[in-house]
């Protein structure tokens, strides 16, 4: 589904160039459950940004379902982000002035294509499924961290994306809540067939996935 070929990402820092990703190639297949594991500074976040189309590589190609997306314009990338990827972040990244339901609905507002379903109905279904239906009119800072992360996952799912990209999804949660979130992601992968990629530095978290990719100093060092 997603192919990364010889991805290089450099950053200019003053006169020096920092090589963040040096020649990364990997492929993610449909309905996979993958962990990208690496220490802080390994380049895993940059890799996630590139997979999530938040950033362009310096060189190399990314193909999504056979379409080369490595040289798209900013607005084309925005539309793809909207339709094909759902982000789940460590710090939830909900908009605190919008209610839970409004947060979940937000991607649908930015949708360019006409949706074949009612996004509000979908959002309410997800809230019910995640057991936080009665929180739908709360503001995010009035609910617990675990609930916030569930809201974030619901937001990631509302557009029926091909891919859920979770960046340290348990990083801000206690271990029991973190475990619940991981279970939820497993379920989504298993029951709904959503492709899930978890980026983490925790081996325990990565172990929960079905396949792990290790990143070190900007290179893929081990794949399972």
């Amino acid at each position: 589904m997603i192919e990364l070929q010889d991805i290089i990402k450099d950053y200019k820092v003053g006169d020096d160039t920092a090589h963040i990703l040096r020649n990364v190639s990997l492929s993610i297949k449909e309905k996979e459950f993958i962990g990208i594991l690496g220490t802080s500074g390994s380049g895993k976040s940059t890799l996630m940004h590139i997979i999530g189309l938040l950033d362009n590589p310096t060189s190399g190609t990314i193909t999504i379902n056979g379409r080369d997306v490595s040289r798209l314009s900013d607005s084309e990338l925005s539309i793809l982000r909207n339709e094909y990827v759902g982000f789940v972040f460590q710090s939830f990244n909900l908009i605190n002035k919008l209610t839970v339901l409004e947060n979940i609905m937000l991607p649908a507002v930015y949708a360019r294509k006409k949706l074949s379903y009612d996004p509000q109905k979908k959002a309410l279904e997800l809230l019910t499924r995640f057991g936080i239906f009665e929180r739908k009119d709360f503001l995010p800072n009035k609910i617990s961290g675990g609930q916030q992360q569930r809201v974030a996952i619901a937001r990631a799912l509302v557009m029926n994306p091909d891919l859920i990209l979770a960046d340290e999804p348990t990083g801000n949660l206690d271990s029991r809540t973190g475990d619940e979130i991981l279970k939820l992601l497993e379920e989504l992968n298993h029951d709904l067939g959503v492709t899930v990629v978890i980026v983490t530095h925790e081996k325990d978290v990565a172990k929960r996935t079905k396949r792990q990719i290790f990143i070190k100093d900007g290179e893929v060092v081990k794949k399972y």
């Binding site: 607005s75 539309i79 759902g86 002035k97 930015y110 557009m159």
Partner: protein, 401 residues
């Protein structure tokens, strides 16, 4: 929910969350719109006031003046030396023209009027008896002097109501009394109805004194007149009559020794002068609109910085640069429109409150200016901060704390 509704609701939400800031920011626009709308309203009120003054005299009136007063380009020009040059021959000749209903020759002098120990300065307008018809004047008490008063050289006077009141305590007491004009005794036969006027160089009919032009040789030693007032049969024949009078006068006088002016020309000149003054004032008032716009820009920049993370989140879930741009632009425009609306409402309140003192008027143009200009200011001063927000890098924005 459609997209525009989403943008507006989003922005309204943000503006409501910061009520004090929203109000203070829109205050600049409020004051700007208030001053511009009030200036337009006053300008319009003034113009209507002048127009009413002219209309009350009548639009089928022509003036024959003893010098060129209106320039080629339409403004007033220096008339040079004004002399009493028209005589009774001119009057009879103009009277004979077809389309001329009434011709009234006039002499104007500033004099001291004395009665019962009081003395007042007044414009003495010596004329023939038809002056009341031509100027739509009516005697409230007593009567106007007549043709026979004119032929008998009767020393009769008609006073403006304020003048009569000043001299005799109350206007109705004046009739039948004697006044001294340039030390000659005149009998007061009438007091005019209150008319107002007197602004913009025209005579004030409330403080004026009318006498028959034959009544005093000191007023008119050479038997010459300064102006001729000509009333046309109807408004339609005014242009033709004007040309005929010009043809007649050019036979006796040089081109710069007379001018025939239509009432409407005079109105246009005065109106255009006031328009220029008004436009300048509105221009000055607009400066505060610009200041208000800068205030909005300033707050919007702060708001962009404050909401960097929010921008990052929105970008990550699929908002394009354009979505972000429109979001901030909507907010700036709403902020500005809010100020504009408040300014307009306050302007309405002020115009309503002073209605009895001054006939200011808010028209559709003023409303359109207020709302149009404030939206434009919102767009103009909002677009720079909005572009900064739109051009934030999504990755850096989402990491921003």
């Amino acid at each position: 929910m459609n997209y525009i509704q989403f943008l507006v609701q989003n922005s309204l939400g943000d503006l409501k969350r910061n009520k004090v800031r929203t109000f203070l920011t829109s205050l600049g626009i409020l004051i700007g719109v208030l001053s511009v709308v009030l200036l337009i309203a006053f300008g319009l009120g003034l113009r209507n006031y002048i127009k009413n003054q002219f209309d009350s005299i009548g639009t089928n009136l022509l003036y024959v003046l003893p010098a060129r007063v209106l320039g080629e380009e339409g403004g007033f020009q220096d008339p040079g030396a004004v002399t009493y040059r028209f005589d009774e021959k001119d009057v009879t000749r103009v009277e004979r023209l077809s389309g001329a209903a009434l011709v009234v020759p006039t002499i104007e002098r500033a004099s001291i009027i004395q009665a019962e120990g009081e003395s007042k300065s007044s414009t003495v307008l010596a004329s023939s008896e038809d002056i009341d018809d031509i100027l739509n004047l009516e005697a409230e008490f007593g009567v106007f002097y007549t043709r026979s008063d004119l032929t008998k050289k009767a020393k009769k006077a008609v006073l403006g109501t304020d003048l009569a009141k000043a001299l005799f305590k109350s206007p109705e007491r004046a009739v039948g009394k004697t006044v001294r004009i340039s030390n000659q005794a005149f009998k007061v036969v009438g007091v005019l109805k209150k008319k107002g006027g007197g602004a913009f160089g025209g005579p004030n009919f409330d403080t004026i004194t009318f006498v028959p032009y034959t009544s005093s040789s000191t007023l008119n030693p050479e038997k010459k007149f300064i102006n001729l007032y000509v009333q046309a049969d109807s408004e339609d024949v005014v242009p033709e009559l004007k040309r005929d009078i010009e043809k007649l006068m050019i036979k006796r006088y040089e081109e710069d020794e007379f001018q025939v002016i239509e009432q409407t020309e005079l109105l246009n000149v005065i109106t255009s002068i006031f328009s220029i003054i008004n436009t300048v004032l509105i221009g000055i008032g607009s400066i505060s609109l610009v200041v208000g716009g800068v205030g909005i820009m300033n707050i919007m920049y702060a708001s962009v910085t404050e909401r960097t993370k929010e921008v990052g989140i929105r970008r990550a879930i699929g908002a394009t640069k354009r979505d972000i741009l429109l979001q901030f632009l909507t907010e700036a425009v709403l902020l500005s429109l809010f100020g504009g609306l408040l300014g307009l409402i306050i302007a309405y309140a002020i115009v309503f409150a002073i209605q009895s003192l001054f006939p200011a008027e808010i028209n559709a143009f003023a409303v359109a200016i207020a709302l149009g200009v404030s939206s434009l200011i919102g767009i103009f001063f909002g677009v720079f901060p909005a572009r900064r927000a739109a051009n934030l890098s999504p990755i850096e924005a989402i990491r921003y704390e």
